[in-house]
Amino acid sequence: MSKHLLKFTVNGKKHALVVQSHERLLDVLRDRLGLKGTKEGCSTGDCGICAVLMDGKLVNSCLVFAIQARNKEILTIEGVGTAENLHPIQRAFMKWNASQCGYCIPAMILASKELLDKNPNPTSEDIRKATSGIICRCTGYVKIFEAIKTAAAEMKASD
């Protein structure tokens, strides 16, 4: 396995790391950068739990070789908001008790962000489609849909 220099930006911060050719973006985020918010659910790209935003687009980080993230901007859940400065999406998820076991929540929040950043007026159908690649086993999705609607309204109001 060969080694490569990976230069990329994660949550606004520039990084330069030496990575192995087969290393996945998921492994680099969790193990090399200590960003544990991105989860591993299935390792085969079927559950969406590992999703992050790469140049603003939702991707499954277990399906991306780390080296393919070169020169890109990655956003993980840690970059969405902080306790002192929650993103409206995070606030909305809390308001609706949309997080149960919490394991799908980082991916759901990032999927919501991809949606709302490009479509501030999503229909119910848009919301379902935007979250269709992420499995949630606890909530039945309903409160997640409500949270996204609320977040959309709040984000529009503050514009």
Partner: protein
């Protein structure tokens, strides 16, 4: 992993390393198979830096799509307008945003896996692929290019750079349908793509092309016998019924661990009718079958 700086780099590398090389566009299929230990590649070649292979353009009455265009980039292109909604029909059932943001047109063609959705559509659009090596280029019809499950005519020193198909004119339409276990993230039980060209009146079938996935050899194939039965016929429920009966006899879809071949064949016939009808609707904006 080899990360080529440019096309020349890549072609040179491919020419000198003939075996054990796996090209990855966005790796979705391959990384999966590495995880499941189905493959252990010696060398990976990352193509994602070749931005010049991301495009959708119209040239010489052909729609040309660069191999590294992702499915979501494809459906966002202004050239893929309502006439080409078939691409959206494919994308919708493909998977969620994170899948279509990564899956590339070229990657899909080359992985030629039996769950392929794009291939039946490209087959009925009589698409060609353009492959390139350090020695030059060649154009191959997609039908000749995909030879078996995970087998294409791509030589070890070549990469696929583009797929292209003739523009749809005012009298032609294309549609796609897929049936699986749930509404998203599905491997199809069966999918169907239909291309229809009528005469100016819309009453007579001029040309029709039909393809289903996982036919024989586990790859998508055209159903030419049925196409010939429909060609030049008047558009009517009877014509459709006769074609469906013939289809049921011709299509001997295989079983898998999930569902029987009989079921797949039955459903294939049902969605063939629907897909053909949708083409008619697209052409006329209303139901035209008598």
């Amino acid at each position: 992993m080899f990360v080529p700086q440019n096309m020349g780099d890549l072609l040179q590398f491919l020419d000198t390393h003939q075996s054990g090389v796996h090209l990855i566009a966005n790796g979705t299929d391959l990384i999966n198979r590495i995880q499941r230990k189905q493959v252990d590649p010696k060398v990976l070649v990352d193509l994602t830096g070749l931005q010049e292979l991301k495009y959708v353009k119209k040239q010489e009455s052909l729609i040309k799509i660069g191999a590294l265009t992702t499915i979501s980039e494809l459906i966002a292109s202004p050239l893929i307008d309502a006439r080409y909604d078939v691409m959206r029909e494919v994308a919708m059932k493909f998977g969620g945003p994170s899948i279509i943001n990564m899956a590339t047109v070229g990657g899909n063609i080359c992985s030629a896996s039996s769950s392929e959705d794009l291939l039946p559509v490209l087959l009925v659009l009589t698409a060609d692929v353009q492959v390139r090596s350090i020695h030059g280029e060649r154009i191959v019809s997609i039908e000749d290019f995909v030879t078996g499950k995970r087998k294409t005519g791509l030589r070890s020193n070549e990469i696929l750079v583009e797929t292209r198909f003739p523009e749809l004119d005012a009298d032609s339409a294309c549609s796609f349908e897929k049936v699986g276990m749930r509404n998203s993230l599905i491997i199809a039980f069966v999918n169907c793509a239909v291309y229809l060209k009528t005469d100016k009146s819309g009453q007579v079938i001029g040309d029709v092309r039909i393809a289903f996935n996982r036919v024989s050899g586990k790859i998508p194939q055209r159903s030419r016998d049925i196409e010939n039965k429909l060609k030049d016929k008047k558009m009517s429920e009877q014509t459709l019924a006769d074609a469906t009966t013939a289809l049921r006899d011709e299509l001997k879809l295989t079983s898998d661990f999930r569902v029987s071949g009989e079921y797949r064949t039955e459903v294939a016939c049902a969605i063939f009718k629907r897909t053909l009808r949708r083409c008619v609707e697209k052409l006329s904006g209303e139901r035209a079958l008598v």
